[in-house]
């Protein structure tokens, strides 16, 4: 037992000695959270637009002012003809051009109808859609305000309630995702690299001839990362809660238990990778390509899984992160208990056992 203790101590020294490892351990989670929290925003703000006003009357002026004072748009240029539209789009700055037909105000008053054309640069389809719907909203609003007494007959009003995320914060999506990603990165990637490193440098041999048993070596290797991962998970939940306002509606203890389960699973996966990989490079590539990308893309933390092609949906079923993200969201945001996530929990336990079984079979006491 004493030997194991000093071995674990040695492992901790190894980790804390290298500032680059520390960068990975604590720099990446914090940078990721901050980037996702403050930089990745899908709402629109300060979109540059151009106006081609063929009418130049009071009404078009008022509408333009209303659009510009909304805070979403900035006027880049007033165009004088339609030829300019293509040129201005090609420069890439302007995202929308508003074209008012001539005699706009007069037509609106006399004929009760006037035309305005909204042209969006749809090379970014998402933004284009948002920009157009915001602009139409503002124009419609203007018209409604012009006729305050207008009572439309037989209106069915859809009234919406946003469940689990009333303010529609994006943090609700990315905090669980970043957590899965970081835990996967630290637990699986770092363990696999640290074990293969001992192999590559030849120090594994020294460990194997020491009185430590193979199981103890593995446990010693794994425990520091387990503790660091739990600390990291804690930090992420804390930042998520304090900085981005992600609540923990459900049981905190259950949340931590599930987190530890996921970490265990990732650690076992890391051990499995290390039994298969001969060099750090290979371990790194397997972890990067096999774990990182799928965890980001196929766990559904940025893009919903239901929208993907069927093939990818099927593949996503073997991604442990997928189940973990579901569990975390359910506990943190929906506030449900184990009754709603027992299936996912069982799958994670099954995966852990599977990885342990395969690793034990593949673990070699002797080096070739």
């Amino acid at each position: 037992m004493k030997q194991l203790k000093s071995f674990i101590k040695k492992e901790f020294f190894h980790i804390f000695r290298d500032p680059r490892t520390m960068l990975i351990l604590f720099g990446i989670p914090i940078a990721q959270l901050l980037i996702f929290g403050t930089v990745i925003k899908s709402e629109i703000k300060d979109v540059h637009i151009a106006v081609y006003d063929q009418s130049k009357d009071v009404t078009t002026q008022q509408i333009t002012n209303k659009i510009l004072s909304s805070g979403y748009f900035i006027l880049d240029k007033n165009l004088e003809n339609t030829n300019g539209i293509e040129d201005i789009f090609r420069k890439g700055k302007v995202k929308e051009v508003i074209v008012f037909e001539s005699n706009f105000g007069e037509k609106l008053k006399k004929e009760g109808k006037a035309n305005v054309q909204l042209i969006a640069d749809a090379s970014d389809p998402n933004t284009a859609r948002l920009v157009i719907s915001y602009t139409s909203g503002i124009i419609n609003d203007y018209i409604k305000k012009m006729h305050p007494n207008l009572q439309l007959p037989m209106q069915i009003q859809p009234e919406v309630r946003m469940y689990f995320n009333e303010e529609m914060k994006s943090a609700y999506m990315f905090v669980p995702g970043v957590m899965a990603l970081i835990l996967m990165l630290i637990s699986a990637m770092m363990t696999s690299i640290s074990i293969t490193r001992e192999k590559e440098l030849g120090t594994m041999e020294i460990l194997l001839v020491s009185p430590l048993r193979p199981a103890q070596i593995i446990i010693g290797k794994v425990i520091p990362y387990l503790l660091l991962s739990v600390a990291n998970a804690f930090v992420i939940v804390l930042i998520g809660n304090l900085v981005f306002g992600v609540p923990i509606t459900g049981s905190f203890i259950l949340l931590m238990l599930e987190t530890i389960l996921f970490i265990m699973m990732a650690l076992c996966l890391g051990i499995l990778i290390s039994t298969a990989a001969k060099s750090q490079m290979t371990a790194m590539f397997i972890s990067m390509i096999g774990l990182m990308l799928p965890t980001i893309i196929l766990s559904g933390f940025i893009y919903p899984i239901e929208n993907m092609p069927v093939v990818l949906q099927v593949i996503s079923h073997i991604m442990p992160a997928r189940y973990f993200v579901t569990i975390i969201r359910a506990i943190m945001l929906k506030g449900v208990g184990i009754l709603f996530v027992w299936k996912e929990t069982l799958i994670l336990i099954g995966m852990t056992l599977f990885f342990i079984a395969v690793s034990v079979r593949k673990f070699k006491i002797r080096l070739e």
Binding site: T21, I24, I28, Q32, I35, T38, V39, I40, I44, K45, D46, R90, K91, G92, K109, G112, K113, A114, V116, Q117, L118, A120, A122, S123, D124, P125, I132, S133, I143, H147, L150, L152, P153, M154, Q155, I156, Q157, P158, E159, V160, R161, Y163, F164, N165, M168, K169, Y172, Q280, M281, M284, I297, I302, Y303, N307, M308, L312, A330, K334, V336, F340
Partner: protein, 372 residues
């Protein structure tokens, strides 16, 4: 000149001797393009909606039929009250609940006004917004028809209507793949170029062969050129390969001039590879290169506007983006490929990239030490 030629010969031989190289050059781009571009989409495929009809009138049934006729909606009927629906929201079986309150039809006739409730699972705010806007459009259309049917007005319009016509240029179908493919491709060539060149240099350090090169009369810049050019060519090749895949698989229209695109890409890659080489000159092991490159790549990519427009980012982020080569390249890729922007349109971006390239490369050459 001869020296550089021999160095290049050596590098190319070493690169292609490695058996994993060819799968890397062809396999990684193919896999990434297919998996990532297909996976990265906000376009909704279907909406699972629970319907709670408490009115049970002619109108409510017609409205439900309207939803049911849209293949996009997957309806779940026969739910007597919200609580069961809510349970389904909790277990992710449903995305939304439509609640038609009792007396909807009566209210509609008597008060000219009625309400229906839409309860949406909003953990994913983006999808929630889409579900809401699709569903209210369906209800709005139903409402219009209803008015026409009951009041005999073909299309009711208020006095003073502005007819808004929308046009989506360069991507009229709003195909999200067209947006993602050039973006992913930009990331791809950067990752390949930066990681490969960086790790290649540091490997010489790790194995110790760098000492042998250091005692030769090879100049610093010649050495860096030797490490740069092969991966620069590989990355450019992968760009062409990726464009071909995107064109074949996603029908990506390549509107712009390919020469312009490759001119920009060449300048961009000088900077990206220069940065990779610089990182490797300050590292001792491949592991360190991987970690540091990974850290910077992540920030570059996320802030470069691959998922969301840079204009929506806070000002400090936009300021940082001025030294982010990825930001310029992402913009160039999408503008040239989808819109056919020319050299003049993107002159500012070109000059910025050129400046960044010169800075990163000079740093790499300056930091590379022939003595340890």
């Amino acid at each position: 000149m001869n020296t550089i030629r021999y160095i290049l010969q050596k590098e190319f031989r070493q690169i292609f001797r490695n058996k994993t190289m060819l799968p890397m050059i062809f396999g990684v781009p193919l896999l990434q393009m297919l998996v990532l571009v297909f996976a990265a989409t906000f376009d909704m495929k279907k909406i699972d909606m629970v319907v709670v009809d408490k009115d049970l009138s002619e109108t409510s049934r017609e409205m439900i039929a309207k939803f049911d006729a849209i293949p996009f909606y997957n309806l779940e009927f026969a739910v007597p009250d919200e609580t069961i629906g809510e349970e389904m929201l909790l277990s992710d079986e449903a995305d939304a609940i439509l609640v038609i309150p009792p007396n909807m039809e009566r209210n509609l006739i008597r008060d000219d006004k009625a309400q229906v409730q839409l309860l949406v699972n909003a953990i994913d705010g983006n999808s929630a917004q889409l579900i809401y806007s699709y569903s209210s459009r369906v209800i709005g259309n139903f409402n219009k028809n209803l008015i026409a049917e009951w009041r005999g007005i073909p299309e009711f319009s208020p006095p003073g209507e502005v007819k808004i016509s929308e046009s989506y240029w360069y991507n009229p179908e709003l195909d999200y793949h067209w947006f993602m493919a050039p973006g992913i491709l930009a990331v791809l060539v950067t990752v390949i170029g930066m990681f490969m060149s960086g790790m290649n240099l540091v490997r010489e350090k790790e194995i110790g062969t760098i000492e042998q090169l250091n005692v030769t009369p090879v100049k610093k810049y010649q050495f860096i050129i030797g490490k740069l050019v092969p991966f620069w060519l590989i990355a450019l090749f992968d760009l062409a390969f990726g464009l071909l895949i995107a064109w074949l698989v996603f029908d990506l229209p390549i509107v712009g001039n390919l020469l312009v695109l490759f001119a920009f890409a060449s300048v961009f890659l000088l900077g990206a590879l220069g940065l990779g080489l610089f990182i490797s000159t300050v590292s001792d092991t491949q592991q360190q290169v991987m970690f540091i490159s990974f850290f910077f790549m992540m920030i570059f990519i996320m802030m470069g506007g691959i998922f969301t427009p840079v204009e929506s980012m806070p000002h400090w982020a936009q300021t940082i983006d001025r030294v982010n080569p990825m930001y310029y390249f992402m913009k160039i890729m999408r503008n040239v490929v989808l819109k056919g922007s020319g050299f003049i349109d993107l002159l500012e971006e070109f000059l910025s990239l050129l400046l960044l390239g010169v800075i990163f490369l000079s740093l790499a050459i300056w930091r590379y030490r022939k003595t340890t």
